[in-house]
Amino acid sequence: METKTVGVIGAGTMGAGIALVCGRKGHHVKLLDANQAVLDKAQSYLQSILSKDVEKGKINEQQKTDTLERMKLVSDMEQLADCDIVIEAVPERLDLKKTIFGELSRICKSDALLLTNTSSISITEIAGGLPHPERILGFHFFNPAPVMPLVEVIRGKKSSEDNVEQAYRFAEQLGKVPVLVTDTPGFIVNRIARPYYNEALRILGDNVAKVEQIDRIMKQAGGFKMGPFELQDMIGIDINFATTQSVYSDFFHEGRFKPSRIQQRMVQAGSLGRKTGEGFYDYSK
């Protein structure tokens, strides 16, 4: 397998995990963040995960040292000039992403693949107006990136076939399972999973069944691993609500995606799920 130099922008939840995935497969990685504290945290995260890999016998001490050696933490975009591939994982804001891709278009080689890990922003919109939009693609990992096997490879309106194929092969080389999707709101997973949450909320709102009942039914009748309410509590009700709102608005308010008032009230009340100790269930006890 060809070793590449991969830049990862944003060393938060997703970026640090994505960098680890790339580093483990032998690539040279440059992990960049605007915040030094985040970089320090990412460094200790990488060290601790790779140390666990050694304990588990997955790699030896030398391989750990080599992997860390290949992974550089950087804070200046200019340092990404020699990257073959850059994966952007900064917060979900169009203005931030547009600025970063503008910079990358200037800094990187003209044939470097520029990928965004966005969960909901249109790839076409991110690439719009930039030189070489044919090499800007979506490359959507799932959280936690080192564990979840899927990568959605998203074809923007101007992405070239050649680059789509390259990104697809790169995902396979990372040991992931890639799927190809056109630039549609929510891509595949976040779109098709909407009814799992939304219809459960509707059923709750119409008093057809209670939270515990719906969770139990979806697990024991449906064979799902987690019920829709337990899952919202785990994901964060605010995050889940924001995803629904974004898909709803990007489909120009198609009724199938209409968000739930129950969910909105929970967000307004600050009952966001496990992270606040209370959501559809109480975690304070």
């Binding site: 190809l180 779109r191 098709i192």
Partner: protein, 251 residues
Amino acid sequence: MTTANKAVLLTGDSPLYAELHHLLIDRGYTVLSFEDATSAPQTVSLAVEVNSLNLEAKKQQLCDLDQLLAADVPIITTSLAITATEAASWTEHPERVCGFGTLVPLAERELIEIAPALQTEEPAIAAAVSLFRSLDKETEIVVDEVGLVFPRILSLIINEAAFALMEKAATPQDIDTAMKKGTNYPYGPLEWADRIGLDEIYAISRGLQRDFAEERYRTAPLLRKLVLAKRVGVRSGQGFYHYGSKEECEK
């Protein structure tokens, strides 16, 4: 529970028919068709009616059962495509009609939902609960709406997958892979639909649309067309996938 002399009258043409028939016999019930029962209706302790797609047939069969059986014999009916309340309203003894809903394959269902109609009285609910308990299923009683909980939510997921496929957002294989690998679904929605029967999923979707009259429940045109073309899934050799050659069957 001994079920030796219990005769269950089973009628209907949903994919549930064959599986329920098999399971009832396996648990020691005598299963009668409507014709079998006409000569000795007094042997029937319970009737189960499972039509989803053809509502005319559902109405006819429920009325026939209502005429044939003594007024205290419970009639359990699928409330997948219409509410149990509407089904019960067709009969002269609506208090003995109780809704339920599940999807094949029954071997994968640990739990079955029961939805009493507004008119249902206690004995019919108890009969539904004990029937499914005797088939080793747990039960959950929910309020009567089209599609209950699991069939309703799953049919909407499948409907959304059908929209995405119609738009060519991704291939059927990629849609199924994404839902299994990106969010841990037990099956991809399209392969799942092919195993359940697209006719059954369509019946639920159409019922939701009819009862709620909201854009939210709009059926994907592709789903409807596949059913009209009798491509209902594994059962008919073709649905979202082809099941013609061996490799494809193993998908």
